[in-house]
C-alpha cells in the first residue's frame, strides 16, 4: 500500500528549483532508501515529507490525505511522521529531557516518559548520558540521541536523514540493526538517506536515486576524477598514473569525471597483454565479491577498478586474489559524466 | 551670534505666550535675539549664578534681591506683575466663594479638609502659598532633609499644614498640571491668573474650576529681570542684557506687556516705575 504519493512535486528555494519529482510513491511498512549526490534535494524532500516545509507546486498525498501546496502543512500529520534531521540540534536541557520531549507533547506522564526515554537511549547506546547536557554532546552522540528522540515516539513513519554520518562504526551497526528491527517488528515505514550505498543496499527494500532534484538512474560505479592530457584525447587517472585514450577529443579542458562500465572491462592474465599498451592497465586482484549472480573483482592498478564478470567467466579464468592481471579498457566503456551545475 | 542673548526665565512667561509677543518686537527694535531657557524659578536663578545665561527673568522678589546682593546680578528691574487667585470646584465645599482674604480662605479649606493642591516645587507660587499658610496661624508641619553641599551639612525644610496627609496634595509640578490635578480631584489651588485663564478659556478641555478668592493685596506676583554680573562671569553679554532690560522697562516694552491679552483678558500689569539699584 502506498503511503506517500507525489506527482509533479516541485520545491523552489531562493530562486532555484531544488526538487522536481515527476512521480514517486513510497510504500507503507517498507524501508525506502534515498540516494544521490550532495545537493540532490534529499533533505529538502524529507522536510516536505515530514510536513515541515511547503512545496511549490504539484501534488502530495499522504495516506489518502491530499496536501495543498498553497497551505502550510497540516500540524496533526506531524504526529504521524517524525524526522531525524541531517544535522540535529538539541534543546539546552538534559539528554533525557530531550528524548522525553515528544512524549510530553503527547501527554505521557513523567514516570512513563522517563522510562521510555531511558529505553530508547539504551537502544542507541546513550543511556549513560541520560543526565548530561544535550547541547554539549559530540557530533556522533548528538546524532544518536536525535534518533532516540524520534524512535521513542514509535511513529508510523520515521524519516532518517543520514542517521549514521558521524556515528562510529560500532554504533553504526547498532543503529542500522535498530532501524531494521523497527521496520521488521513494528512495521514502521522508514525513509532513509545516506551516502553509504553498501549498507543502504543491505537495509532498504527499495532504493530511490535523486539527482539535481529529479528521480534519476543510480550513479555509475567506477567513477574517477581524471586530468585530460594536452591533446584532449588522453586522460590520466592520477597525475603520473595510467593513461586512457578516448575515441573523440574532448571539448572542455580541466579536471573532469568519467565512469568506466564494469561490464565492458576485460580481465586478462598478465602474461597475455603488455602493460605498455594504450588503454590497458596492469594491477593486482585485491578482492572478489559475490553480488547476486555476478562477481565483482577489484583490481588495484594505482586506483581501484571494479570489473563485473559472470560466475562462469570468472571460473574459466582461474584467477585469484594476489594475482597480477591486465585490464583492457575499450574506449566505448569510458563515459564522461556531465559536470554538476546548480539548476 | 553676538546679538544672541541667553535668558533663563520661569515657565509662566513662556507658557503664557507673553514672550512670543515681546521677543519678535525686541528683535525688530534692537536686533537682539533671545535664546529662552524656561524652567522653575529656583533653577532659573541657579543658571544665573552659574553664569550659564546672560539675564534672568523670574518672579520671586526676595530671592531676586538676594541674588543681586550676593553679587550674581548687577541690578534688578521690576517689570510687571500679575496676581494670584484661589480657585476651586463650583460646588465649593469649603464655602470660600467671594472671599477677599486669602488666609481666611485657606483656613476654611483646611477646616473642611477638602482637597488642596500645592505646587510643592519651591516656585514663586509655592513660596507665596507657604507665606499664606503661615499667616493663617494654623499649625504647620515641617520636615527637614539634610544634604551635603561643599562638604557642609545643609538642611532643607519643607513645610505643609499639619495633619494634612489626607487632603493636601503636594505635586511638585507646574501651574497647569496643578490646575488639572485640582480639576480631577475637585480641589482648591492657588494659581496665577494667567495660567488659570489659559486653562479655563483657552483650552480644548477647559478645567471645571472657578475663581473663589481674589483681590487680596497680598496676592500680587511681581516679575523682575536681572542681568548677570560680569564681575562674576566675565563672558556674559552684560551690555546686551542691559539693553534688553532697558527695552523691557521702556514705554515701548511696558505698552506691549500691558497690551497683551489672552482670550480677551489682560494678564500682566506693567510695573516699571522705579528702577532699583543695590
Amino acid at each position: 500500500m502506498s503511503l506517500y504519493k507525489m506527482e509533479k512535486l516541485r520545491a523552489v528555494l531562493g530562486n532555484k528549483t531544488v526538487l522536481d519529482i515527476e512521480s514517486l510513491t513510497v510504500e507503507k511498512g517498507v524501508i525506502t532508501a534515498f540516494m544521490g549526490p550532495n545537493g540532490a534535494g534529499k533533505t529538502t524532500l524529507f522536510n516536505i515529507l515530514a510536513f515541515l516545509r511547503r512545496f511549490h507546486s504539484g501534488s502530495l498525498v499522504f495516506d489518502g490525505i491530499p496536501l495543498l501546496c498553497s497551505q502550510a502543512p497540516p500540524a496533526q500529520l506531524r504526529q504521524r511522521a517524525v524526522l531525524v534531521p541531517q544535522e540535529p540540534i538539541m534543546f539546552s536541557s538534559s539528554v533525557e529531557k530531550n528524548v522525553a520531549f515528544g512524549l510530553k507533547c503527547r501527554g505521557i506522564s513523567l514516570a512513563q516518559r522517563t522510562k521510555q526515554a531511558h529505553k530508547a537511549l539504551d537502544e542507541v547506546g546513550m543511556l549513560g548520558f541520560a543526565k548530561a547536557a544535550a547541547h554539549r554532546l559530540s557530533g556522533g552522540e548528538t546524532k544518536r540521541v536525535a534518533l532516540a528522540r524520534a524512535i521513542v515516539l514509535d511513529p508510523e513513519v520515521l524519516l532518517c536523514d543520514e542517521p549514521t554520518a558521524g556515528v562510529d562504526s560500532q554504533n553504526r551497526i547498532i543503529i542500522l540493526e535498530l532501524i531494521g528491527r523497527l521496520n521488521a517488528q513494528r512495521g514502521m515505514t522508514v525513509l532513509i538517506t545516506s551516502h553509504n550505498a553498501p549498507w543502504l543496499a543491505g537495509l532498504a527494500s527499495r532504493m530511490v536515486h535523486l539527482d539535481s532534484g529529479r528521480i534519476a538512474e543510480p550513479f555509475p560505479e567506477n567513477t574517477f576524477l581524471v586530468h585530460p592530457g594536452p591533446d584532449g584525447r588522453s586522460l590520466f587517472l592520477t597525475p603520473d598514473g595510467p593513461e586512457l585514450v578516448l575515441e573523440e577529443p574532448l571539448a572542455a579542458a580541466g579536471t573532469l569525471t568519467i565512469s568506466l562500465d564494469p561490464k565492458q572491462l576485460a580481465l586478462l592474465p598478465a602474461s597475455l597483454g603488455r602493460a605498455a599498451d594504450k588503454n590497458s592497465l596492469s594491477g593486482v586482484i585485491t578482492g572478489v565479491l559475490l553480488k547476486e549472480d555476478r562477481l565483482l573483482v577489484t583490481v588495484n592498478a594505482g586506483v581501484e577498478i571494479l570489473i563485473s564478470l559472470s560466475l562462469a567467466q570468472w571460473k574459466a579464468k582461474n584467477l585469484g586474489p594476489g594475482d597480477i592481471v591486465q585490464i583492457s579498457i575499450p574506449a566505448s566503456s569510458i563515459r564522461v559524466l556531465p559536470e554538476k551545475k546548480p539548476l | 551670534q553676538s546679538q544672541v542673548l541667553v535668558m533663563s526665565t520661569t515657565t509662566s512667561t513662556e507658557a503664557s505666550g507673553l514672550l512670543g509677543v515681546l521677543l519678535p518686537e525686541l528683535e525688530k527694535d534692537t536686533g537682539i535675539k533671545v535664546k529662552v531657557i524656561a524652567k522653575g524659578t529656583g533653577a532659573a536663578l541657579k543658571d544665573g549664578m552659574d553664569g550659564n545665561v546672560d539675564v534672568v527673568f523670574v518672579h520671586a522678589k526676595a530671592r531676586e534681591h538676594e541674588f543681586v546682593e550676593q553679587g550674581y546680578g548687577t541690578m534688578r528691574f521690576a517689570v510687571m506683575h500679575n496676581d494670584f487667585v484661589i480657585v476651586g470646584p463650583p460646588s465649593d465645599p469649603a464655602k470660600i466663594a467671594g472671599s477677599k482674604n486669602a488666609a481666611d480662605a485657606l483656613k476654611k479649606i483646611a477646616a473642611s479638609a477638602a482637597p488642596f493642591i500645592s505646587r510643592g516645587d519651591d516656585s514663586g507660587t509655592h513660596i507665596m502659598e507657604l507665606d499664606l499658610w503661615k499667616s493663617t496661624g494654623l499649625p504647620l508641619a515641617s520636615k527637614v532633609t539634610s544634604t551635603t553641599q561643599a562638604g557642609q551639612q545643609v538642611e532643607k525644610v519643607s513645610i505643609t499644614p499639619a495633619d494634612s496627609a489626607k487632603w493636601y496634595f503636594s505635586i511638585g509640578q507646574g501651574m497647569g498640571k496643578t490646575l488639572l490635578f485640582a480639576d480631577e480631584k475637585k480641589g482648591y489651588a492657588l494659581t496665577d491668573r494667567g495660567t488659570y485663564i489659559k486653562y479655563k478659556y483657552g483650552s480644548d478641555a477647559p478645567v471645571d474650576l472657578e475663581i473663589l478668592c481674589e483681590d487680596d493685596p497680598v496676592l500680587h506676583n511681581i516679575y523682575g529681570v536681572i542681568p548677570v554680573n560680569p564681575a562674576k562671569h566675565p563672558h556674559v553679554k552684560h551690555d546686551l542684557a542691559m539693553q534688553f532690560c532697558q527695552w523691557l522697562v521702556s514705554p515701548r516694552g511696558q505698552a506691549l506687556i500691558g497690551g497683551y491679552q489672552l482670550v480677551g483678558k489682560q494678564l500682566f500689569f506693567p510695573d516699571a516705575i522705579t528702577v532699583q539699584t543695590p
Binding site: V82, F91, F101 | D121, T145, A150, G172
Partner: protein, 231 residues
C-alpha cells in the same frame, strides 16, 4: 567635582536616615515599574513570538509599526491614557487618574513595543532547527514557541531588562498620569525632576544614585540567577 562627592554623601545620609518619605518613594517606584515591566512582558513576549512565528499578510508592516512605536513619546502616551481615564473619559468613573495604576497603564503601553521588538529580534536569530525539531516531535504551536523562547531566554531577558530600565527611570508618564503627588504617586525619577526644578541639584543626584543602587541590586540578583541557570 565636589558636587558629586556631595551627592554621594547626601545619598548615604538619606539612606542612613531611612527617611520614611524616601522609603515610600522607593516603594512606589519599585511597585510601579515592576508591575508595568511584568504586564508589558506578558503582552510583549507573546507578541514578539507571534510576529516571529506566524506568517500573515502585512507582517512586515506590523513589525515596522512596532519598531516605530519604540519612538513613542511619553507625552503622547500620557495624553492618550489621560483622555481615557480622566473624569471626562470613558473610564473616568474608575477614578484612575493620579494613581499608581494610571502610571502602570501608561508605562506598560510605553514599553510593550520595546519588549516586542527585542523579543522578536532575539528569536529571529535563533537557529531554525529548534522550531523544526519541536514541530516534528509533535509539539503544538504554543509548545514550539515556548521551546524557542527558552533557547532565546538570554535575549528575552535583555529585552525585559531594557524595558525595566526604561520605566524605572521614566519621568514623563509618571508625572502626567501619576501627578507626582507626595506620599501617593511620587516616584524616584519624578522626585528627582522636582528637586532639579527647585535647583536642589545635590539632592536630585543623590536620589539618582539611590535609584541606580536599586537597579544594581535588581540586576545583580538577576545576574546571579542567570549565572546559575547558565551552568
Amino acid at each position: 567635582m565636589g558636587f558629586f562627592w556631595d551627592s554621594i554623601v547626601s545619598a548615604l545620609n538619606l539612606l542612613l536616615a531611612a527617611d520614611s518619605e524616601l522609603l515610600h518613594i522607593v516603594g512606589v517606584s519599585l511597585t510601579v515599574s515592576s508591575s508595568s515591566t511584568l504586564l508589558a512582558s506578558l503582552a510583549g513576549i507573546p507578541l514578539g513570538l507571534f510576529l516571529g512565528f506566524v506568517n500573515f499578510w502585512g507582517k512586515r508592516v506590523v513589525i515596522t509599526l512596532f519598531q516605530t512605536l519604540l519612538a513613542l513619546p511619553t507625552v503622547v502616551v500620557g495624553l492618550f491614557v489621560y483622555a481615557f481615564i480622566s473624569r471626562r473619559g470613558i473610564f473616568g468613573p474608575f477614578d484612575l487618574l493620579y494613581t499608581k495604576t494610571a502610571i502602570v497603564i501608561g508605562q506598560t503601553i510605553l514599553i510593550i513595543p520595546v519588549v516586542t521588538v527585542l523579543t522578536l529580534a532575539a528569536i529571529s536569530r535563533m537557529d531554525r532547527r529548534y522550531k523544526d525539531t519541536a514541530l516534528t516531535l509533535g509539539a503544538g504551536p504554543l509548545t514550539t514557541a515556548r521551546m524557542v523562547a527558552w533557547e532565546a531566554r538570554f535575549g528575552i531577558m535583555a529585552a525585559v531588562a531594557a524595558a525595566f530600565g526604561r520605566v524605572i527611570a521614566e519621568v514623563g508618564i509618571s508625572m502626567m498620569l501619576g501627578g507626582n503627588a507626595k506620599g501617593f504617586t511620587r516616584t524616584m525619577p519624578t522626585a528627582m525632576a522636582l528637586e532639579y526644578d527647585k535647583g536642589e541639584f545635590v539632592l536630585s543626584i543623590a536620589l539618582g544614585l539611590i535609584l541606580l543602587a536599586l537597579a544594581l541590586g535588581v540586576n545583580g540578583f538577576l545576574q546571579f540567577f542567570q549565572g546559575r541557570a547558565r551552568q
